[in-house]
């Protein structure tokens, strides 16, 4: 009898612990997502006002690094990332790709501007989320 009670208590404790673990994990995931969105909004604030009138991020990551639109946005992102250097989550590949172009150009080095699929997907998500009002 006592052994059975102990077993029930143990199973219940395991169930509660796993539920708490799952909740914590979900909660953290949601906080991380909110955090990366707010960090993305902070980083892209000036860009949305001054640099995205002709091209979205999906275009910028595939244009040549010497394109004035890329140069301007990349320069801005390079500077803004010195201030807003938090985790950008899914937006990081596109933003950090452009920021690295800005950094290389500011150092008078040639920038490797080739985007990969991960960067393109990140740029499309940025455009989608901005268009959906993620920062409004």
């Amino acid at each position: 009898m006592t052994r059975r009670v102990r077993l029930v208590v143990l199973v219940t404790a395991l169930a509660v612990a796993s539920t708490i673990g799952a909740c914590t994990k979900d909660g953290r995931g949601s906080d991380e997502s909110a955090g990366s969105t707010s960090e993305m909004c902070a980083v892209t604030g000036v860009l949305r006002e001054h640099f995205l009138d002709r091209h979205g991020f999906a275009d910028l990551v595939d244009l040549p690094a010497s394109d004035p639109d890329v140069e301007g946005a990349a320069a801005a992102l390079y500077l803004l990332r010195t201030r807003y250097d938090g985790d950008l989550g899914p937006y990081a590949p596109a933003i950090d790709h452009l920021a690295s172009i800005g950094r290389e150009q500011a150092a008078n080095r040639s920038a490797d501007a080739r985007a990969n699929d991960r960067i393109r997907e990140s740029a499309r998500k940025l455009d989608r989320d901005l268009a959906a009002g993620a920062c409004e």
């Binding site: 006002e49 140069e71 301007g72 990349a74 390079y78 803004l80 010195t82």
Partner: protein, 164 residues
């Protein structure tokens, strides 16, 4: 005896004067805690440039950030460059002093937005000149013993933000 006492007193006075002179040209870079105001910080993009001979103190935007600011200006204009410069700033800030004059962190905090946005033509001219000379964009706040506000460009001392 009287002569020796006078000599000692003179030496002490000389030492004091030398000490004060050294203090007066010392760069004061006081990093203070955040007081809620937005201002520039020392570090990744900016530094203090002190030129003791010219009795001049400036805030310098390092070379690479200056080049990036110019590219941003070239694409989207003066206001875009000003907005980036303002957005990049954050507390804590430096207080600067030279030749007995100083500007506290509180004053820098209060006035920085006016420095950045107050005279777009002056800012633009200095940004272009900095680009042509590949210098740092700089904001001179003390010169020849006077408080001033002048966007300019610097070669000496700008890369590291150390004393010139």
């Amino acid at each position: 005896m009287h002569h020796r006492r006078t000599t000692n007193r003179q030496r002490a006075r000389t030492r004091r004067i030398l000490g004060l002179s050294a203090v007066s040209i010392l760069v004061t870079i006081g990093v203070t805690s955040c007081d809620g105001a937005v201002a520039w910080k020392l570090g990744k993009t900016h530094g203090a440039i002190i030129e003791p001979v010219a009795r001049r103190a400036s805030l310098g935007i390092y070379r690479e950030p200056s080049r990036a600011l110019y590219k941003a200006y070239k694409r989207s204009g003066t206001k875009a460059a000003q907005d980036i410069l303002w957005a990049v700033g954050e507390p804590p800030v430096a207080s600067i002093s030279v030749d007995g004059l100083s500007i506290s962190t509180a004053v820098l905090n209060r006035k920085m937005k006016g420095y950045v946005y107050g005279d777009a033509a002056d800012f633009r001219g200095a940004l272009i000149d900095a680009h042509v000379a590949d210098d740092c964009l700089a904001l001179t706040l003390i010169s020849q013993g006077l408080y001033i506000k002048n966007w300019t460009h610097k070669d000496v001392g700008c890369r590291t933000g150390s004393t010139g």
